[in-house]
């Protein structure tokens, strides 16, 4: 299998690397004690340090450092005992200091890797170059006044982790899977809330194209993409644009691009000549960051199970397929829900596949329809477990269970309550079922004749009639067995 794109003249291969900016989950900013709460009124979370008042000095927030180390461990990366904060100098209205404090030469986290899993059961490692800590800038608001720009500094100084990948990605799908996997790991670690809509996770995409086997081509960087959909769209558009230029004999200019989400097109923001000279140098207001092996060990031991470990555990314990297990572990809330649900009754362990199906298809579709997610699901994991137990013990049929789930979803009642109240227990009494079947046979003599004459398809008709009479509650297997028995006796 290859991932080449057909061009006019020959095949092309995309070469993609991502710089992910993940907001560190922390109550206060990287170098000040102001709150990081999203959506507060403008400039309500700005300290003297964040506003870069004269004589104000940054002080490192140790919690943010721990979060970065934790993330590094989760990315299977080398944690550096020594790292340095540098100043990245440039002017912008929402950058109060006139520089961003970042890490340049000596980042806190070095080389690592993450694995992405494909549907066909194969997987691929994407190498990570580094992770460093840096400050976010404020926000320029251009749409509040026709002639003025307003600046909101609430975000100014919030801690970001920049996670830089090697150019190991070859398709837009891989890019999407990579960022999903990073997001999943960060959320398991609780080091980033993963909210792409609020900008807690965004990415710059570096992309070039080449003839398969050639050296890397000239790349362009697409800035600030905040959804997986846009990342894929932007890559597709940009690759096409580059291929068209190259096939018509042109060359690619190393540009920084912006992606227009309404047109789906990229356009150049600045070229290499216009690129900033950031004049990086070590921030003299801050000492180098030193972390001992002991501290790293302490943080390591506090790390929860990560998606890959959990996936393997689910495969091992519950004999799930690789695909089911990876769907289940992609989001922490899903695996948590599954865990709680399957552990709510000892018998459910033997019905893991049913539990997975009910979570990932029935419950998910109800949640989607109602714009909810697992965290605020009206059906608790225990209640879903109870429902599945009713199915597995033949107390209700799968078909009725779907109605029960909908009822649970809207009424908040437990499965048992609903089944009892509505009398939905499956009929498993042989005599009762036989009685119903006798009734159906007696009422449809012509059909019975036709069936006996060889029209086998009519069996379904009899099942339907009998089900109707039992309001769907008859145990389908017993119904089938007894029906066949009785009809054959007529022969």
């Amino acid at each position: 299998m290859n991932n080449f794109i057909k061009g006019e003249k020959h095949d092309w291969e995309m070469v993609i690397g991502l710089e992910i900016h993940a907001q560190v989950k922390s109550n206060s900013k990287l170098f000040s004690s102001s709150s990081t709460k999203f959506g507060s009124s403008p400039n309500s979370q700005v300290s003297l340090v964040d506003a870069a008042m004269p004589g104000m000095l940054p002080v490192i927030n140790k919690y943010c450092v721990e979060q970065a180390v934790k993330t590094g461990v989760g990315l299977n990366a080398k944690i550096n005992n020594y790292s340095v904060f540098d100043r990245k100098n440039y002017f912008y209205a929402d950058l109060p200091q006139g520089y961003q404090i970042s890490q340049y030469k000596y980042p806190i986290v070095g080389e690592g890797k993450v694995t992405i899993d494909f549907k066909d059961g194969t997987s691929k490692d994407i190498r990570i170059v580094r992770l460093h800590l840096e400050q976010d800038a404020g926000k320029s608001l251009h749409d509040q006044n026709p002639s003025k720009t307003y600046v909101d500094l609430n975000r100014s100084g919030v801690a970001l982790m920049e996670i830089v990948s090697e150019p190991d990605i070859r398709t837009p799908d891989e890019a999407g899977m990579y960022i999903s996997k990073i997001r999943s790991i960060l959320m398991y670690l609780d080091t980033c809330d993963g909210n792409m809509q609020e900008g807690s996770l965004r990415a710059d995409v570096n992309i070039s194209v080449r003839k398969p086997g050639d050296d890397y081509g000239t790349r362009c960087e697409i800035k600030n993409l905040n959804s997986i959909k846009f990342i894929k769209q932007a890559i597709n558009y940009e690759a096409k644009r580059q291929i068209e230029i190259l096939e018509s004999g042109g060359t690619i200019e190393q540009n920084t691009m912006l992606f227009n989400t309404s047109t789906g097109k990229t356009r150049p923001m600045r070229n290499k000549e216009e690129a900033h000279d950031y004049r990086y140098f070590p921030d003299p207001d801050l000492l180098p960051l030193e972390i001992s092996q002991e501290e790293i060990g302490k943080i390591k031991s506090s790390i929860p199970e990560l998606p890959d470990e959990l996936k393997n555990k689910f495969i091992e314990i519950y004999k799930l397929s690789n695909y089911d297990a990876s769907v289940l572990t992609a989001e922490k809330q899903t695996s948590d829900y599954f865990n709680e649900s399957i552990n709510s009754d000892p018998e459910l362990k033997n019905h893991a596949k049913i539990v997975v199906n009910w979570i990932t298809s029935e419950l998910f579709s109800l949640l989607n329809k109602n714009n909810l997610d697992l965290n605020n699901s009206p059906v608790s994991p225990e209640n879903l477990g109870q429902l599945i137990k009713l199915i597995s013990t033949n107390e209700i049929s799968g078909k009725i269970a779907k109605d029960v789930l909908e009822d649970m979803f809207s009424s908040g009642k437990t499965a048992k309550q609903i089944v009892d109240e509505k009398g939905l227990q499956q009929v498993t009494d042989q005599g009762e079922i036989a009685k119903v079947i006798d009734e159906v046979i007696a009422e449809n003599p012509k059909m019975v004749e036709q069936y006996l004459a060889g029209k086998d398809k009519l069996l379904g008709f009899f099942v339907g009639q009998a089900m109707k009479l039992t309001k769907g509650k008859a145990n389908p297997k017993m119904l089938n067995d007894i029906l066949k028995q009785k009809l054959n006796k007529k022969n």
Binding site: P54, V59, R279, F281
Partner: protein, 474 residues
């Protein structure tokens, strides 16, 4: 005019020989009489009287209760505007109090005003201020002299007896050189001894707050008041602050003084070499062992300093952009124009020169040759001192290569001006404590200064040597 010392004044206040009001009225009178010196950027009699009122109603015991202190206008203060002597901060009123000034307020001192300085502390003559030159109180009529800089206003305030002590900051000599020019005591402590929190930054890795006073004892009292760890400054040191004054000991018998041969520079005036020799002789008489030492990288200190300090300044001053506070140009048609015109009109020549130098030395392609190399040399200079201090307890040198020069003399020659820092810059680069005390006069009867350098956080030794020299000179 015999100036009373801080030590004596504290006694007089304690024994009720004089009241806080009488004391400060006396200083207020002199301040008003000396307006021509242009010592203060901000002075408000009303504000001083209000502070007196408050203290009269305050019964708690405080170490510096009622003592008039002048504050260099680089320290942010709540009760007075803070300008850094720049147009760009002309009407800036901080909502916060710097660590150092807060400590002085906690001790009950009275701030008489904010003193003039070179714009953002960049200069050696207090002649780059947006608010005009300060005149050295020792000037003769019709021959105004520079007070040195950058803390020229604070040095002049003490010299003219407009206060009992003043704060300064020293980045490459900005306390020691003006102390020498004005004939007062000035100490720059070890980098990290006093928090930089609330001091408008010039060069973060060098800036350090310190004290001007009439004599060494007073300096020891005042420095203890402003020193101490501050968690808001990551470069602030967690060290115990001894009671410098209580521990003062002028008996130097058995100590060793280092005399660095590299500080004998061609072209140094005879008088300077003379007072240096005199000081050494005095020490020898006191039983101090004289040790000739070598600080081989001294000659690279000045160029190193004039790469590192402007580099940091170019970044530190980026925050003055017209967006959030301070001056903003009226002539704005775009964001870029706002930056360009605000900074072109808001900063003076010397500040712009240093921002340009700093921007240049940090630029891609030049960084390794200038900034990185300068950092390596800085390390070598620090190593020189560390080695030297294995052989001696303190080092004695002249403070400046000349006495106070006439105002405007070196105005148009930055290199000549930069040479003023030749004896003070090496210790700044190494982060060492240094004091300048008046010691001898030149042919025009102008004071000259002797510099004493000590080991990191060994301010006590510096004070001891200084007080010993001071007492023998008197």
């Amino acid at each position: 005019m015999s100036k009373s010392s801080l030590k004596q004044t504290l006694k007089d206040l304690d024994t009720k020989k004089i009241s806080i009001r009488e004391l400060n009225q006396d200083y207020l009178k002199r301040i008003k009489e000396n307006k021509n010196l242009n010592v203060f950027i901000h002075f408000s009699e009303e504000n001083v009287l209000k502070q007196i009122d408050n203290l009269e109603n305050d019964n708690s015991a405080k170490k510096l209760k009622g003592i008039p202190i002048a504050i260099k206008d680089l320290f942010c203060t709540k009760s007075m505007p803070t300008t850094a002597a720049s147009k760009i901060l002309e009407n800036f009123n901080p909502t916060y109090e710097s660590f150092v000034t807060q400590k002085l307020l906690d001790e009950g001192s009275i701030f008489v005003g904010k003193t003039n300085l070179d714009e953002f502390a960049m200069g050696s003559a207090t002649n780059t201020s947006f608010f005009g030159n300060t005149i050295n109180p020792l000037s003769k009529e019709n021959e105004p002299l520079a007070p040195g800089g950058s803390s020229g206003g604070s040095a002049a305030a003490v010299a003219a007896d407009l206060c009992l002590g003043a704060t300064g900051t020293d980045t490459g000599g900005s306390i020691r050189q003006p102390a020498s020019f004005c004939g007062v005591v000035g100490i720059k402590p070890t980098y990290g001894l006093c928090s930089r929190w609330g001091i408008a930054a010039f060069a973060s890795s060098l800036d350090q707050a310190g004290i001007f006073s009439h004599n060494v004892e007073d300096a020891s009292i005042l420095l203890q008041s402003i020193a101490g760890f501050d968690q808001r400054d990551s470069t602030s040191a967690k060290v115990d602050i001894p009671n410098y004054f209580e521990n003062l000991d002028d008996d130097l018998n058995g100590k060793t003084v280092g005399i660095p041969k590299e500080y004998s520079i061609d072209g140094t005036p005879m008088e300077i070499s003379q007072i240096w020799e005199d000081a050494i002789k005095v020490l020898e008489k006191k039983g101090v062992k004289i040790k000739n030492i070598s600080l081989p990288h001294t000659k690279y200190a000045l160029p190193t300093y004039y790469i590192i300090a402007p580099a940091e300044a170019s970044s530190n001053l980026a925050r003055y952009d017209g967006v959030k506070y301070g001056f903003r140009s009226d002539e704005i048609d775009s964001l870029d124009e706002m930056y360009e015109n605000t900074r072109a009109q808001g900063f003076g020549r010397e500040v712009k020169r240093r921002i340009l130098i700093g921007t240049y030395v940090l630029s891609a392609g030049y960084y390794d040759a200038y900034y990185l190399k300068a950092q390596k040399v800085r390390k070598l200079i620090a190593d020189d001192f560390n080695r030297a201090f294995n052989e001696c307890d303190f080092i004695v040198t002249p403070t400046a290569p000349s006495a106070a020069f006439p105002l405007n003399e070196k105005q148009n020659d930055p290199i000549k001006m930069y040479l003023n820092d030749v004896f003070t810059v090496p210790a700044s680069l190494a982060g060492l404590p240094g004091i300048s005390i008046p010691f001898g006069k030149d042919k025009n009867n102008l004071p000259l200064g002797i510099q004493i350098l000590g080991k990191h956080f060994d301010e006590q030794q510096v004070f001891n040597a200084a007080v010993s020299l001071e007492r023998s000179y008197e």
